[in-house]
């Protein structure tokens, strides 16, 4: 808040030492204490200035804060002296201009007027109030193009931990282009009790005539929950309470600008304005340039405004620089200032009288059109090198075009290529099921096939031996020995390679002797000369008998 006003002051001070007086608010109640700041820019004071007696107020010094602000490559040093101002009675507090001598320079503040209203006699609780203001005063009617400030003030005796402002719907009003709204929060004392104040200022421009209703603004705040603050470290976990306050709705009548008295070259500016011009040098050589500085300030919007062009064949050429526009809003008061720098290039030596700059503006306070005019300025033009080569030329007729004005507001147009979309997603859609299911079925199918290939079939050895016996009618000796050992192994419950002749003693007596004989004969045949048909039959018969033992 301080830095914003300081920046405004510093940028307009053209880097000269300056004193700025600033208050938290320009409206207060009896018994309310606000902050009053005296800012010294690019100068040093020996100590805190003391205030003369101010009727209806008590002023007490509180402290000083120093800082540096860098603007356009130049550093400005500031010292801000803070005072506490308490309103003592209803009415107006006039703080006179303060004049201080710094070295050889005399610095002076602007006088400041504060309005003191009686104490609010309503409930002592929190309250949100809204108003539309023009030049700081509440209004219920305005002209098209006039700047109004929507102000909402919220006061509460509790500490505000967090706050969120929801602006109303501004029917028939649009946001001012050069300045955003401002939300300020400060503490104030009323009868010794601390109050939190949140104030919102939104600059708006009346856009269309008619009866307008501004809906309530809403302020949502977070305050500490009373009675549950805890002790010691528990205070850090104290509960908070969310509360929402709304202001009342506002009615506004927006009137069109009157046609009577309006010139064809009406500037479009609505507000109280002041126009000044000065030459930065009073002598210039022909063909050289001198800067004409034109300042336009007032309480109307200057967004998009440009100076009227210079007529052709007036003895000089003019080149406009991009203007700088600065605006501020505070306590329902909107002010803006534009600085235009125009390079003047005289075309012939002698005395050149610059014609005055004229602007017709509409003053909503008087309800009439007014003509702003600068003083004629005289320039001494000496002969220069460029004299012989200069020639006058015209830029043609003035631009007669105007911005296209909006006549109404409506919804967005229809969509001419509307098509029904039959592909609304549904998980049960057969297309979805197929799209997802087919690849995954393929994946799991391939996986299942692989697993099946990896698993070895589990075969019953008795069944396998039985099948081998059925195919062994012409078995050779080696096959017969193998069948005999497999059958013995199954009968004895032992692996075939581990069997020897001694193991045969465990066979039942019905098969033991035949088995021992066959074992010996097979061994003999193995080393003696092969199997005959009798040995094959005996072997197969015994094998079948052993298989039946289970």
């Amino acid at each position: 808040m301080v830095s914003a006003s300081l920046l405004f002051a510093a940028s307009s001070a053209l880097y000269a030492a300056q004193l700025v007086l600033d208050a938290d608010t320009e409206r207060l109640q009896v018994g309310q204490t606000i902050g009053l700041r005296l800012t010294v820019i690019d100068a040093a004071l020996p100590g805190a200035p003391s205030w003369p007696s101010v009727a209806g107020a008590k002023i007490a010094y509180q402290g000083v804060q120093q800082s540096a602000v860098r603007i356009s490559g130049k550093t400005s040093r500031t010292a801000t002296y803070t005072y506490a101002l308490t309103a003592l009675k209803e009415g107006t507090i006039n703080i006179p201009a303060m004049e201080l001598s710094v070295g050889s320079e005399a610095l002076r503040t602007e006088p400041l007027t504060l309005k003191v209203s009686p104490r609010d006699t309503g409930p002592s609780g929190a309250k949100a109030e809204a108003s539309l203001r023009a030049s700081g005063e509440p209004v219920q009617s305005a002209y098209v193009g006039q700047v109004l400030v929507y102000t909402m003030t919220f006061r509460t005796p509790e500490q505000v931990l967090d706050r969120r402002f929801t602006p109303p719907t501004f029917d028939g009003l649009v946001a001012e282009q050069t300045r955003d709204g401002e939300l300020r929060e400060h503490r104030t004392a009323i009868d010794g009790e601390d109050w939190s104040v949140v104030q919102v200022d939104l600059p708006l421009v009346a856009a269309a005539p008619g009866e307008r209703t501004i809906t309530p603004g809403v302020m949502a705040v977070q305050v500490p929950e009373l009675g549950r603050t805890g002790r010691g470290p528990a205070r850090a976990f104290a509960n908070v309470r969310n509360e929402v306050y709304s202001s009342e709705s506002l009615q506004l009548t927006v009137r069109p600008l009157p046609a009577e008295g309006r010139q064809d070259d009406f500037s479009g500016l609505v507000g109280e304005f002041a126009l000044n011009a000065r030459l930065l040098d009073d002598t210039v050589a022909t063909g050289d340039s001198v800067t004409l500085e034109i300042t336009l300030s007032g309480d109307g919007t200057l967004a998009g405004f440009s100076l009227p062009p210079v007529a052709a064949d007036v003895g000089f050429r003019a080149y406009d620089d991009t203007p700088t526009v600065e605006a501020r809003v505070r306590d329902g008061r909107f002010t803006s200032a534009a600085a235009f720098r125009r390079a003047i290039v005289p075309e012939r030596p002698g005395t050149l009288t610059l014609p005055p700059v004229e602007l017709q503006v509409f003053n909503p306070r008087t309800g009439r059109y007014e003509l702003l005019q600068t003083e004629p300025l005289t320039l001494n033009v000496t002969a220069g090198e460029g004299e012989a080569t200069l020639s006058t030329f015209s830029q043609g007729a003035n631009d007669q075009r105007r911005d296209v004005e909006a006549q109404a507001d409506d919804i967005a147009p229809l969509h001419p290529r509307a098509q029904a979309d039959r592909a609304l997603f549904s998980p049960k859609d057969p297309l979805v099921l197929g799209l997802v299911g087919v690849p995954w079925l393929g994946f799991f199918g391939l996986l299942a096939r692989e697993l099946a290939q990896r698993v070895k079939p589990k075969v019953d050895p008795r069944r396998l031996l039985s099948q081998r016996l059925q195919r062994a009618e012409k078995a050779e000796l080696g096959e017969l020995i193998d069948l005999f050992r497999e059958a013995l192994g199954l009968a004895l419950g032992k692996p075939a390679p581990a069997l020897d002749q001694d193991a045969l003693s465990a066979l039942p007596t019905t098969h033991r002797d035949e088995a021992q004989r066959l074992y010996a004969d097979l061994e003999a045949a193995r080393y003696g000369g092969g199997a005959d048909s009798g040995l094959r039959e005996r072997t197969l018969r015994l094998c079948r008998a052993l298989l039946e033992l289970g």
């Binding site: 029904a420 592909a423 997603f425 549904s426």
Partner: protein, 253 residues
Amino acid sequence: MPLFGLTPILLTLGLATAGEPVEDALAALVAGDYAEATRLHVAAVNAGEVSGDVYYNLGVSLYREDAIPEAILAWRRAAVLAPRDGDILLNLDHARRRTQDRVEAPALDSWMFWRSSFSFSEQGWAAALCLSALGALGALWRLRPDAPVGIPALLIGVPAVAFCVSTAAELQALGDRPDAVVLVTEIPVRSEGAGGVVLFTLHAGAEVNVRERVGAQALIALPDDRVGWVPFDTLGLVDPRLPFPSPPAKPAG
């Protein structure tokens, strides 16, 4: 129009079409016959011919007929199907200003940030396509174990999971706890079904969330968590798959 709408692709696939009812409704709307345009649009929607644009144009014709709550319902349904369409949000804002209750719709607060950019249908189809591609990659992996499918599977798998989860959340929100618009001029919201005390009163165009439905009564909630019961038939559900409620008859003359 959606930036990445699936409509052109689906048109190519033969899954979308510019049916006659929609064309007739559009012609009536362009001709300024808003009653006929509304009737044809509702007929098209109830016949399943839905899209963000169709609901949008239905909202325009309803707005022209001064049926503000129905227009809000149509544009809310349009926003479900075409969440990136700025015209829908603009018109919704326009229509909401003409309602009586200031009910601020809460912003979608979810870690699934893409939900506000894609319709449930787009999310669903994206999930299906990703899952399909993931299955195809799996099959390729079994056929050719040496194929480099790891990184593609990861790149497809992450969005597949994300879109599956968000689609489920969208369908659950549409089916179980849908948003709704009050369609009658004024409705008292009670503490217990048809009985109880009147907690607060809502007016036409107010947007609420339906928490439960028991018989002919619905438990609704406002964004500030105030809840109460209203007759279910006073609400229009913001589910574009449902039939559109019949707009009020315009008085003769």
